[in-house]
Every structure is written in structure tokens, then in C-alpha cells.
């Protein structure tokens, strides 16, 4: 049984939801609360998998409740169920929120979303990872975007594209505030959100996520992501998915970032063996990364890229595609980095590999 806590200042809403959840009372145990303070008490008394909160409430509003829960109970997945259309008040708690549901939300949709989240969360049984998910998107960028003034669309795009953590946050915000899977590229995320909101999201950095972390490690991961992104875009060339390939490259190692944030003390460099990952976390970084992107409503294609970016056979078979551009770019980049021949050399025609290498090499040389 999973446990869910609904918070709303309108008791009839809570009663309605309790009635609704009657349908799935074999899966979910439901508790309700009419105030944030009471909700915090309930959370302190027993574990909940999901908290679903209204935004506009007297005394303690939803944003404050979510922020408190995020710090005090980091392994609770947070949903917003609000009739309020304005996105801005959500900004402060966006790093903590998994899903935004608008009122009125149909019963089947609410139940479906809860189910999906529960399934994804069950993939992250290790509670330490669940706790750190919310921190990943509030990390400071390697290149501070605050310096960009005035924040034009072009500058914002350039700024976000240079920083994986910021890109993750922005795309996640687009999924959260506009629609799941709406944004396949940085530019489209900015266009959907509007420059003003995008700019505020870019600046939404806080110290909660950063505690105990080393900026150098984050920078290393970030640099790697950017390099693969540039490589993937170079391989995609004129293809219309070039920007998606870039985003795929930028985010492909998000799982490693999660591992680092989860247990920085046991982090074994930027390229640990998957066996170590499995040993430590029970999952590879590709599995964890894709699960998290799915949890945050990223487009399926992007989730697939993260999940399969080490699956070179699939990459070779599906070439050219978003996923293959990312996987091959990383493999070829690795040859330039380490000097060991790329694995793909044994899998593809040499002329094709050399053609790809010719696109990758300038990126490596101008890094």
C-alpha cells in the first residue's frame, strides 16, 4: 500500500478526493488535512509516499508547505493540485514539486498520475536517491546566467545551452508549467515559458541543493555533458532533431549527477564503472537518469536517450536518430579523450566512422 496525503483548505475538496480514492483503496491509503501545519504534523508521525497540496491556503500557503516538506521530508514526492493559473508563485517550490495538476482535475487523471509516479518511485527504492532528486535541479550553474543583461531570447538560449544543470531545470519547468513533454529543445522551452519566466527559472538557484557538494565535480560533469551535446549536434547536422540531440547530450549523464548529489563521499569520478554504480545504488546512472526524467515528465524520446546512451548496438541500428547521435558522440569523444579506439569502430563501416569523426573532431579541438 502506498500512502498519500491531500492538503486543501476546502474540506469538501478533501471529502470529494477521499470519495474518489475509494475506487483505489486497495492501492492507496489516503489521509487529508485542511492546513499546512497539520500536514507537517501528519508527515512527522508517519511516512507518506506522495503529498498533494493546494497552493492558495490561509496561514501557510502551498509554496511554504512544499518548501518545508522538501527540506524536512525529502523522500516525499510532492504534487500540486491548484485552481490557480498563475505559475510564478510556484517558482519557489518548483525544485521540490514533481507534478503540477490543475483544478478541476478529473479523478481518473489524478489516479493515473499517482500510479505512474508510484511506479517510477518504486524504481528508486534506495531512499537516498529519492531524497536527492529535488536537489539536482537547484544546483548552481557552472556559468552564472545572472550576468546576462538584458536577457534576450538568444542570450538566454546560449546561456542555458552551456549549462546542463540549468537546462535540466528549465526543461523541467516547461514540463511542469506548460505541459509534459512540451519542450524538446532549450529554445522551445524558453518560447513556451516566455523569456521573463524562463529568466526567473534560470536564476532559481538555492543553497539547499548545494550543501556538501564540490563545484569542481559539477563543472566536470557539466563540461562532459556540453561536449557530448556539441558532438551530438554536430552528428545530427542539418537534421531537424539537432536541438533535441543537443539536449540529449547535455542531459545524458544526469544519473551521474544524481549519484554525486546523493552520496558525494562515495563518488568515484566522472566515469565510474557501471558495476560500481550497481553495487552502490542498485542501478546504473543511465537507469536512474531516465527514471528521473520520466518522473519529471520529459519527452519519451529524451528519456530513451538517457536510458540507452550506452547501448551502442541500438545506436548503430537506429543511426541516424537523436539517441544514436548522443551515444555515438560520447563514444567518439571518448576516443579523442582517452586515445583508446572508439567501440563503434568495430561495429560500423570505417568510412562512416571517419565521416562522423570528421564532425566530432572540430568540437573536441575547439572545446
Amino acid at each position: 500500500m502506498r500512502r498519500v496525503l491531500f492538503v486543501d483548505d476546502e474540506p469538501r475538496v478533501l471529502q470529494g478526493i477521499e470519495n474518489l480514492m475509494f475506487d483505489v483503496d486497495d492501492e492507496w491509503e489516503v489521509e487529508t488535512s485542511t492546513s499546512g501545519a497539520e500536514a507537517l504534523e501528519l508527515l512527522a508521525q508517519s511516512h507518506f509516499d506522495v503529498l498533494v497540496s493546494d497552493m492558495r491556503m490561509p496561514e501557510m500557503d502551498g509554496a511554504e508547505l512544499l518548501n518545508r516538506v522538501r527540506v524536512a521530508f525529502p523522500n516525499v514526492a510532492l504534487f500540486v493540485l491548484s485552481g490557480h493559473a498563475e505559475m510564478r508563485p510556484l517558482l519557489k517550490s518548483m525544485n521540490a514539486v514533481h507534478r503540477f495538476l490543475g483544478k478541476p482535475c478529473s479523478g481518473p487523471h489524478l489516479i493515473q498520475t499517482l500510479r505512474e509516479t508510484a511506479e517510477l518511485l518504486s524504481d528508486l527504492e534506495a531512499t537516498t536517491i529519492r531524497e536527492s532528486i529535488g536537489r539536482v535541479t537547484s544546483l548552481p550553474p557552472s556559468t552564472p546566467c545572472e550576468a546576462i543583461f538584458p536577457p534576450t531570447r538568444e542570450r538566454l538560449v546560449a546561456c542555458v545551452e552551456s549549462d546542463g544543470v540549468t537546462a535540466l531545470r528549465l526543461l523541467r519547468a516547461a514540463n511542469l508549467f506548460v505541459a509534459d513533454g512540451v519542450a524538446h529543445s532549450i529554445a522551445s522551452a524558453i518560447d513556451h515559458l516566455g523569456c521573463e519566466l524562463a529568466c526567473d527559472i534560470v536564476r532559481q538557484v538555492d543553497s539547499v541543493g548545494f550543501a556538501g557538494l564540490d563545484q569542481e565535480v559539477i563543472d566536470l560533469l557539466n563540461d562532459h555533458g556540453r561536449l557530448v551535446a556539441l558532438g551530438a549536434r554536430a552528428l545530427a547536422g542539418e537534421a531537424e532533431y539537432a536541438d533535441q540531440a543537443y539536449v540529449g547530450g547535455l542531459l545524458h549523464d544526469v544519473g551521474r549527477l544524481v549519484f554525486y548529489v546523493t552520496s558525494p563521499e562515495s563518488f568515484r569520478g566522472v566515469h565510474p564503472l557501471e558495476t560500481i554504480e550497481l553495487e552502490q545504488h542498485g542501478k546504473t546512472h543511465a537507469e536512474i537518469g531516465s527514471t528521473i526524467l520520466a518522473l519529471w515528465g520529459f519527452p519519451d524520446e529524451l528519456v530513451g536517450v538517457v536510458r540507452d546512451h550506452h547501448n551502442l548496438e541500438l545506436a548503430v541500428a537506429s543511426y541516424p536518430s537523436v539517441m544514436s547521435c548522443v551515444a555515438l558522440a560520447e563514444d567518439l569523444m571518448d576516443e579523442l579523450f582517452s586515445g583508446h579506439p572508439a567501440q563503434v569502430r568495430t561495429m560500423m563501416d570505417n568510412a562512416v566512422v571517419e565521416e562522423m569523426m570528421a564532425r566530432i573532431r572540430p568540437v573536441w579541438e575547439n572545446r
Partner: protein, 716 residues
């Protein structure tokens, strides 16, 4: 006797010599009468000496005469000579005896000087005493004569003043006698000349002082342009001492006016008067402007010299330059200011205007000046303007910030007008009008008002949506719950219904229960009731969502948005506008996402749909009971196209050109503001898109195109 004759001859010779000497001296005296002071004094001194000489000679002559009594006859001759000599002297001579009685006077005394003293037989002492007492003669003269007679001192020599006349007076004893010689030499002319000279000298001194210290720099040049004198002012302003230098060279050096030297030279050469203004760089490095006046002056000796007076007009020139540049500035301001400016006299005739004003009339400035409004454009109704102008130019009170609407070729023109009295020398001389074209601002203001209205509507509907959404949430949840619950209950009831077939007591109870709760009706109607309640909740939710999305309180930013969704929402919220007159059909392309401000576009869509519905409503009758509105979207290569078609009667040809004009409306009062399509066009233009229409008697299609790839540079 022979010796006596010799002596007489010698005397005669001496007398002759003396006569000659006297003549020469007289000549000299006359000649010198008009010469300089110094010479005059010399003459005077010589005369004094001469008198002494005469005196001495006379003495010696008389002594000789006395000693040679025996030679009387000869002496008489001599005496007559002497008399002649004495008489011919221009000096007034009188010989007195010991008590002051005049013994002998010379001719000039006798003939011309009776007022100075008596002739032989009169007593000069007595005369002077009387005259002294009367103040006519200086008292010392009487005393002097008395003292000389009394032998207190031998000689008295002094100036004496008789009325207007001045004399050099000599009183001396004639040696070896008791006689006294009184001689008056008339020096009046001398004294007067001296006084005149003194006056002149003082005047000159004064003039020189004035010249030296006057503020006007002054330079005196000789005929060769050599500087002979400069005053302090010149020295100070030029910072140099140029006396002795060539003025032309100096002029070439200190004036930055290259021609000035040649000009001055030419005038000096011709001895002409010259006057002009020249600039020069002063000792302080700043530029001075001088009115230079070169005056030829005839010198005493006949050689010409030149006086050059410089009059500092730097301040005047500066004021003139400033005025000129201020005038230039003013002209620039007046001609370049975007406002239309004109000024009229008290009789409403244009005295001037700027380009902007002339452009408004489609005329040139020259066409306008001197005319009245009604002369410029026949039949132009300037009555209102005239009344305002009149009150300004008569009453003297400015009328500021009045909004007036004028008809122009490009439609109505809204002007912010100000009229102020034109005051010249304290008199109201006309009126100055300043018209600012605020048409664009008025349009903007209206758009802004519209935007504010939209924003307010957006906020309001967001609030209402929130209010509605909360109950809709639990209504929906509860209906969902009831659906499940009722389904279970009906299953239960069905089982009871199954029991009703039994013949036993259970069966009869079951029949009774089912009858009591009218089971058959419930069984038949409940699923439908729940179904329609669910649908109702969905419909309300959709409307509320549409309302929320329609108002779209997302600021004025452009974002990626789905045009199809916008149209769907707009059709939903405007249902009440069209549902009685038309059906709405939609034919949407699959993907119509474009960077836009959907809130504004929704407003445009609403206008088109409402216009379409109203066009159809005008044509609805028994033959055409309901019209049709078709909303289509198309995903073109580089743009998204929206077409709204109605099957109304079409737009009349006369109306077609004005469709997009601000404030143009064919609707009756209260039905429209005439802003709809003008605003629609403004919104579409802001999206860099186009809006146009096709119309015929069978309907009208408005078409909007919004480009896909227009990224505004630098837009935040």
C-alpha cells in the same frame, strides 16, 4: 669850446645809436608779440633791461647836460632830440619832482594815459593816493613812488594792474636830482597772452589726462603711420608698447583680420577718414572687437597726423553673435520640432509657421504667410480655432492643452493644441499656436486601455475560474465516486430484484422494497443521470478552462502557443454570441504552434467570430434561418493561417475601404466601438503578420497569417 662841440657830437651820435637800438627793439617787440610764452618773457626781460639802459643813458645824458650848462644851446638841440626820443618810446614816462608833481611826461603818457596819471603840473602821488583809495590803482604804487622820492630805496620795479591793463612799472630816482622817473610799460597783451597760454596749457594737460586715461584705446600716428603716442587703454588691451613702431605692421600682427593693415595704410596714404569694425586678439588671449576710427588731424606745423580711436564693441558683437546663434537655434527648434507651430497677427493673418504646420496644410510656408485660414483652404471651418485664437489675442490668456480633432486625408487627426498670446514690447500682438499630433498616442492609449481591460478581464476570470474550479473539483470527484458507488448499489439492488422472483416471504419482501423505492425508474434513469452530470462537469470545466486560457493573463510577451487551442477556447467562450444565429464548424490543421501572444490573438479571433455572427444575424430570416461560421487553420511552410468565414450578406463596397479604420463602425450605438478590426490589425502587425478579407454577397472570409520564424531581435 671845441671840446664841448666834440662832446655834443658824441652825444648826438649816442642818441642816434640809441634811437636805432630802440627802433630795433620795437621791431623785435612787435614781432615777438605773438610768439611763444618763453619768447615773450624774454622780450619782456629785454625790455626791462632796455628800460634800465634808457634810464642809465638818460641819467648820464642828464648828468652830462647838468655838467655842461654852458653848452645850453647845443644841449637844447640835444634836449629836443631827447624829447623826440622819449616821446617816441611806447613806454609811458613821467618825471616827477621831489613832491610828486609831474615835471615832464612823454607823448604817449600825455596822449593816451590821462587815466593813468596827470600831465605836467599834476601831482602823481596825489593822483595815485586818490586812485588807490578808490581801489583803481594798487596802493603799492603810491607807496613805491613816495618811498623812492624819500630815498628809502632807489628803484622800484613791479607789475601794476590798472583796470584791465597790465604794466611793468619802474620808479627810479634820477641820480643827483630830486626827480623821480616813473615808467609804465604796457604788458597787457603779454599778460593776456600768458594767461591764454596758461589756460590752454591747463586745458591741454586736462585733455592729455583724459586722453591718456579714457577707456577707448587711442593711438596717434604720424603721416608715415608711425606710432607717436598711445594711451593707457591701448597699452593695456594690446599688452604692448608700440610707440615708435609702424602701425600697419602692428595692425597686421594683432588683428586677425588680414585686410585691416592694407586698408589702414591706404587711408593714411590718402589722408582720409576711415571707420570700420575689426577684431583683434588681446593681451589676455581673448578676442576683442573694436570700432576703429582713423581721423586725419592737421598738425600745427601743417604736417598731418592721425588719431586712431578704438571703441570696444566686443560686448555688442558678442550680444549680436549670441542673438544670431539664439535665433538660429530657435529657427532650428521651430523647424525641427515635430509639433506644428504658427503665429498670427491680431487680425488672424499668418505671420509665420514651421514646416510641420505647412505640411499639415499641404502648403509651403510662403503660401501661408499673410493669409487667413479661410483664404488658405476655401470652406475650411476654422470657426472654433478662430474663436479660441480671438479670445487669446484679445484676452491675453493662454489656452493650453486642448484636444481637438481635425479631418485630414489620412482620417481624423487628434491634436493637442496650445495657443498663447504673442507679446511684443508688452503688447499683445497676435497669437502663437502649437499643435502636437497625438493621433498615434490616442491610438496607443486606446490599445493600452484595451490591453488593460483584457488584463483586468484576465485577472477577473482567473479568479472566477479558481472559485469555480474548487467546487468543480469536488463535484467531479463526488460524481465519479457516486458513479462507482451507485453501480455497486445497483448491483446490490439487481440481486434484490433477483430475489423478488422467489415465492417465499423473502421474495415478497424484496418485491415490496423494490416497489417502495420505485426501483424500475431508478434502474432506468440513474446511469443516464450520472452520465449527464459527468458530462455537465466536463462542459463546465471546459468552459472555465477556456475562459482562463482565453484571457491568458500572460503579459505582453510572445510565447510558443497553440493557435488551435486558442481558437477552440475563443469559440467556447463566445458561444452565446453565435449559437442563436449560426453553427460553428472547425477545420484545424494538426499542428499550429507559433510564437505569439495568445491572449491578444484570442481577442482578435473573438472579434472575427463576433463580427461573423453579427453579419449572419443581419441576414437571418425565414429563408435563411441559421448561418454557418467556418473556422479553419492551415500550417503553411513559414506561417500559420487562420480563416474565419461567414455566409452572411458580405461587406458593402462603400464600407470596405474603412473596415480597418479606427473608430469606424456600422453597428448601432452600444453594439460596437469601432475599435475591433483596427485593434485586430494592430495586434496582427505586432506579430509581423497580415490580416485581410475577401467578401461577396454570399459571405466574407477574414484571413490572418502569422509568421513562424519571426524572432524579435533583442526582445526580452
Amino acid at each position: 669850446m671845441e671840446g664841448s662841440e666834440q662832446r655834443i657830437a658824441e652825444l648826438e651820435r649816442k642818441v642816434a645809436m640809441q634811437q636805432a637800438t630802440i627802433d630795433a627793439m620795437m621791431d623785435e617787440l612787435e614781432k615777438r608779440q605773438s610768439t611763444t610764452e618763453q619768447t615773450r618773457f624774454q622780450t619782456w626781460a629785454r625790455q626791462a633791461q632796455f628800460i634800465n639802459v634808457i634810464q642809465q643813458k638818460t641819467e648820464s645824458l642828464q648828468a652830462a647836460l647838468a655838467k655842461n650848462n654852458e653848452l645850453t644851446s647845443s644841449l637844447q638841440v640835444s634836449e629836443s632830440f631827447l624829447s623826440a626820443v622819449v616821446d617816441s618810446l611806447p613806454i609811458r614816462l613821467a618825471i616827477l619832482d621831489g613832491d610828486g608833481t609831474v615835471v615832464r611826461v612823454n607823448r604817449i603818457w600825455r596822449e593816451e594815459s590821462s587815466h593813468l596819471g596827470p600831465v605836467e603840473g599834476g601831482n602823481l602821488l596825489a593822483f595815485y593816493r586818490v586812485r588807490s583809495a578808490a581801489g583803481e590803482v594798487p596802493p603799492q604804487l603810491h607807496n613805491a613812488i613816495a618811498s623812492v622820492i624819500a630815498q628809502k630805496f632807489p628803484t622800484y620795479l613791479d607789475h601794476t594792474e590798472f583796470g584791465n591793463l597790465y604794466f611793468q612799472t619802474l620808479v627810479t630816482r634820477i641820480p643827483d636830482t630830486t626827480h623821480v622817473l616813473v615808467a609804465h610799460l604796457d604788458i597787457t597783451a603779454l599778460i593776456q597772452a600768458q594767461k591764454a597760454l596758461e589756460r590752454e596749457r591747463r586745458e591741454t594737460e586736462l585733455l592729455s589726462l583724459v586722453t591718456r586715461h579714457t577707456e577707448n584705446p587711442i593711438v596717434i600716428l604720424d603721416g608715415n603711420a608711425k606710432v607717436t603716442w598711445t594711451n593707457t587703454a591701448f597699452d593695456q588691451v594690446s599688452g604692448m608698447k608700440i610707440t615708435g613702431q609702424n602701425a600697419l605692421a602692428v595692425a597686421a600682427q594683432i588683428s586677425d583680420d588680414p585686410g585691416v593693415s592694407a586698408l589702414l595704410g591706404e587711408h593714411i596714404r590718402l589722408g582720409r577718414h576711415y571707420q570700420s569694425t575689426h577684431s583683434m586678439i588681446g593681451a589676455d588671449g581673448s578676442r576683442y572687437y573694436f570700432r576703429v576710427e582713423l581721423k586725419p588731424v592737421a598738425g600745427e606745423s601743417g604736417t598731418p597726423f592721425f588719431m586712431m580711436v578704438l571703441n570696444d564693441v566686443t560686448e555688442n558683437v558678442r550680444v549680436q553673435t549670441t542673438l544670431a546663434s539664439e535665433r538660429k537655434l530657435l529657427e532650428n527648434v521651430v523647424s525641427n520640432v515635430p509639433h506644428a507651430i504658427y503665429w498670427k497677427d491680431r487680425y488672424s493673418r499668418y505671420q509665420g509657421c514651421n514646416e510641420a504646420f505647412a505640411r499639415n496644410y499641404g502648403l509651403t510656408i510662403g503660401d501661408i504667410i499673410g493669409k487667413r485660414d479661410n483664404e488658405l483652404i476655401p470652406g475650411k471651418d476654422g470657426a472654433l480655432g478662430f474663436a479660441r485664437e480671438n479670445s487669446v489675442s484679445r484676452g491675453g490668456h493662454p489656452v493650453l492643452g486642448v484636444e481637438e480633432t481635425f479631418e485630414s486625408e489620412n482620417g481624423p487627426q487628434v491634436m493637442l493644441t496650445s495657443r498663447v498670446p504673442l507679446i511684443v514690447d508688452g503688447q499683445i500682438n497676435g497669437v502663437l499656436g502649437i499643435f502636437a499630433d497625438i493621433t498615434a498616442f490616442k491610438h496607443m492609449e486606446q490599445e493600452l486601455n484595451q490591453a488593460r481591460r483584457l488584463e483586468a478581464i484576465g485577472q477577473l476570470s482567473a479568479g472566477i475560474a479558481h472559485e469555480i474550479n474548487t467546487p468543480m473539483q469536488y463535484i467531479g470527484d463526488n460524481i465519479h465516486f457516486m458513479d462507482k458507488a451507485v453501480t455497486m448499489l445497483l448491483d446490490l439492488a439487481d440481486k434484490v430484484d433477483g430475489l423478488a422472483a422467489r415465492e417465499d416471504g423473502v421474495g415478497s419482501d424484496a418485491r415490496e422494497w423494490l416497489k417502495q423505492c420505485r426501483y424500475q425508474v431508478i434502474r432506468r434513469n440513474v446511469p443516464g443521470a450520472i452520465q449527464s452530470a459527468t458530462e455537465g462537469v466536463q462542459t463546465v470545466s471546459q468552459i472555465v478552462q477556456a475562459m482562463k486560457a482565453f484571457a491568458h493573463p500572460g503579459g505582453r510577451e510572445l510565447k510558443m502557443a497553440d493557435i488551435n487551442a486558442g481558437l477552440t477556447n475563443t469559440i467556447t467562450v463566445s458561444r452565446n454570441e453565435w449559437k442563436y444565429v449560426a453553427e460553428v464548424e472547425t477545420a484545424f490543421a494538426a499542428e499550429c504552434v507559433v510564437r505569439c501572444n495568445l491572449g491578444e490573438l484570442n481577442q482578435v479571433f473573438l472579434n472575427l467570430i463576433v463580427n461573423a455572427a453579427q453579419a449572419i444575424a443581419d441576414g437571418v430570416d425565414s429563408d435563411h434561418p441559421r448561418g454557418k461560421i467556418i473556422v479553419r487553420t492551415a500550417d503553411l511552410e513559414d506561417a500559420v493561417e487562420v480563416r474565419v468565414t461567414d455566409n452572411g450578406p458580405g461587406i458593402p463596397a462603400s464600407v470596405q475601404p474603412h473596415v480597418f479604420e479606427q473608430f469606424f463602425t456600422t453597428k448601432s450605438v452600444g453594439k460596437g466601438t469601432g475599435q475591433g478590426l483596427a485593434l485586430a490589425r494592430a495586434v496582427i502587425e505586432r506579430h509581423h503578420g497580415t490580416i485581410d478579407f475577401e467578401t461577396s454577397s454570399s459571405g466574407t472570409t477574414f484571413r490572418i497569417r502569422i509568421p513562424k520564424n519571426h524572432v524579435e531581435q533583442g526582445a526580452a
